[in-house]
């Protein structure tokens, strides 16, 4: 999906001030500026500014209730669906403010795929129809294109071999791990620019987990990934950047290698070494 990337990265590391070599060659895909989400009167997140680089994996970590999900859901305007939720600040996708008044949230969501903590295939739909659900929404009806997209997405999600003979059986009949990979395939079928994943492996067994981690590794050649995880090893394994959330704010954001070797903030270190959280 050739969207022009409109913003070159300047110094985007407010906390560290560090600019590593790679960053010079990277472009921004997503960026939040002073983003706050207010549930009624409580702040879910407050003044969060975070750059998200193109074709990189950004991991969001932090203790339970610190606002990771809240942040993730603000990136594809899922908060629009709940009452009494107020958004302040900006989210730029390719430099374009997705909360600008004229922007249709439905169009935003078509450009950012989302994978939830619990697998969410449509249980009565066939595996095939699940994968093409997003394509149907944009009006693609050509059987050849759809067939191709199904195989491609399922291969991408490392599910093809397991389901190629049962594409017409209902999505609800797959195992939990398969359902989660089906959810990923469904999100990938529309070729989103960004893939948002909220603890995608927390309900899965180790084998399915490692398959999904491998998948993330291949996917980042093509898409930008933001992943919430409670698993430090997972963050270390799959991500290029890590942002540490604490009480609704970002305490530290850095390259993963830096963050996991020489964290700058005491709280980051404490969290990562299991002293709290």
């Amino acid at each position: 999906m050739g969207y022009p990337i409109t913003q070159k990265v300047e110094n985007n590391f407010p906390q560290s001030g560090v600019r590593s070599k790679i960053i010079d060659h990277m472009t921004l895909r997503l960026e939040t500026k002073k983003l706050s989400v207010i549930y009624g009167t409580i702040y879910g997140i407050k003044d969060v500014s975070l750059p998200i680089y193109d074709k990189k994996v950004t991991a969001l970590i932090g203790p339970s209730g610190c606002g990771k999900t809240t942040f993730l859901r603000s990136l594809n305007r899922m908060h629009d669906l709940t009452r009494n939720t107020l958004i302040k600040g900006n989210v730029y996708l390719n430099g374009e403010d997705i909360y600008a008044p004229k922007v249709d949230p439905v169009m935003v969501r078509r450009r950012l795929g989302m994978v939830f903590q619990k697998p969410t295939p449509f249980p009565t739909m066939s595996v095939y129809d699940n994968v093409i659900a997003g394509l149907k929404l944009v009006g693609i009806k050509n059987k050849l294109i759809l067939d191709e997209a199904v195989e491609k997405s399922l291969r991408h999600a490392a599910l093809w071999d397991e389901v190629k003979d049962r594409l017409s059986s209902p999505g609800g009949s797959l195992s939990g791990g398969q359902q989660q990979r089906l959810s990923i395939a469904r999100a990938l079928a529309v070729e989103p620019e960004v893939l948002l994943m909220d603890e995608p492996t927390s309900s899965l067994d180790p084998q399915s987990t490692s398959r999904i981690e491998e998948l993330i590794d291949t996917l980042k050649k093509k898409v930008t990934i933001v992943i919430v995880t409670h698993n430090m090893q997972q963050a270390a394994r799959v991500s290029d950047f890590t942002a540490f959330f604490y009480l609704g704010s970002i305490v530290e954001h850095n390259t993963t290698s830096k963050m996991f070797t020489v964290p700058e903030n005491k709280r980051t270190e404490d969290y990562m070494t299991g002293k709290f959280g």
Partner: protein, 333 residues
């Protein structure tokens, strides 16, 4: 060490044993026996009811034959004493199927509107209204039908339709039927009105039970509200919706008072669209007081027996459909 272990082990064993015998097991058994007993009683009652109906209707069924009675087209308690249930079976099936067909779209629409679109205050008003309609005794609806609805329909529609056919296609008049107001169409419309609340209430329930995750998954794919309903909500709720439809169908088949008051009560074929007709319940309620001859009474009870069988079949089909389409069989995580 060794002794310690055995002592602990023994204590543990004793504790679990005691509990299982004294509390869990006894309570469980008492409960399961009483539930089993009650269940058996219910089934026995049903079987007994069927037997009694069959016993009392046996004279008619024997005389006209099990299937002969079903297919007999004449119902003549006056002279020939010949009885056949076919007109009433036909009347019952036509009225209830037509009512179901007419009520389906409005019922589902109202349900989707209240569950998904309307603001909360409006939903609660509609919910209450729907429950209210469901709670009105059918004899009251029948009265309203007799004095207001049927005459109004006659003056506003039926006579004009009749006149139009008279002018343009007079050969069709036997099919159109007499526009007296009390007849098949009126009964169907009233029946539809009466079963809408059932379908609606159950559909609203089923729609509200669709997990938030399913909706969000559809939204996250870039679905609009209507697409979410079509893609995630309705398929997920279809088992519940079908259950509501089947319940309504069962109710339409068995509905007695309002239909008996409005259908015009014509016992012989052919029926017409506007003209009077009969259903199985309506003929029972209309004739059992006047039945003098044994064979007449027996025939009425036999109609009841067949009505019972039909209701049973509808319920079995309902159970089958619901099992086939509900999600309980499908695996979630």
């Amino acid at each position: 060490m060794e002794q310690n272990y055995t002592k602990e082990h023994a204590t543990k064993e004793l504790l679990t044993k005691n509990r299982s015998i004294l509390y869990r097991s006894f309570g469980d058994r008492l409960f399961s026996y009483s539930v089993f007993g009650l269940g058996i009683t219910v089934i026995l009652c049903t079987v007994l009811m069927a037997l009694v109906l069959y016993g009392d209707g046996a004279e008619a069924i024997k005389k006209f034959g099990f299937f002969g009675f079903l297919t007999g087209r004449v119902w003549d308690p006056g002279i020939t004493m010949e009885f056949g249930a076919y007109p009433f079976i036909l009347g019952t099936l036509i009225t209830s199927l037509a009512a179901l067909a007419i009520s389906f779209i409005p019922a589902i629409s109202v349900a989707i509107f209240t569950a998904e679109y309307s603001p909360r205050w409006l939903s609660s008003i509609i919910d209450n209204l729907v429950n209210l309609i469901a709670a009105v005794p059918s004899v009251i609806i029948g009265l309203w039908g007799i004095f207001i609805f049927a005459p109004w329909m006659r003056d506003t529609f039926y006579t004009h339709i009749y006149m139009w056919f008279l002018d343009h296609y007079p050969t069709m008049l036997p099919i159109v039927g007499n526009p007296i107001g009390y007849g098949m169409t009126t009964a169907i419309l009233i029946l539809a009105m009466m079963i809408i609340p059932y379908t609606t209430v159950i559909t609203v329930d089923a729609v509200k039970k669709v997990p938030k995750e399913q909706r969000e998954a559809a939204y996250a794919l870039g679905a609009t509200k209507w697409e979410v309903i079509r893609m995630a909500v309705l398929p997920y709720a279809r088992g519940g919706i079908l259950a509501g439809v089947m319940l309504s169908f069962g109710r339409a088949i068995g509905e007695t008072m309002a239909v008996a008051m409005l259908i015009g009560n014509r016992n012989n074929l052919p029926f017409s669209i506007l003209g009077p007709a009969s259903t199985m319940p309506s003929v029972i309620v209309n004739e059992f007081r006047e039945a003098v001859e044994n064979i007449h009474l027996s025939s009425i009870i036999a109609v009841g027996f067949y009505l019972f069988i039909i209701s049973l079949i509808v319920n079995l089909i309902a159970a089958y459909i619901q099992r086939k389409f509900s999600l309980t069989g499908a695996r979630t995580i």
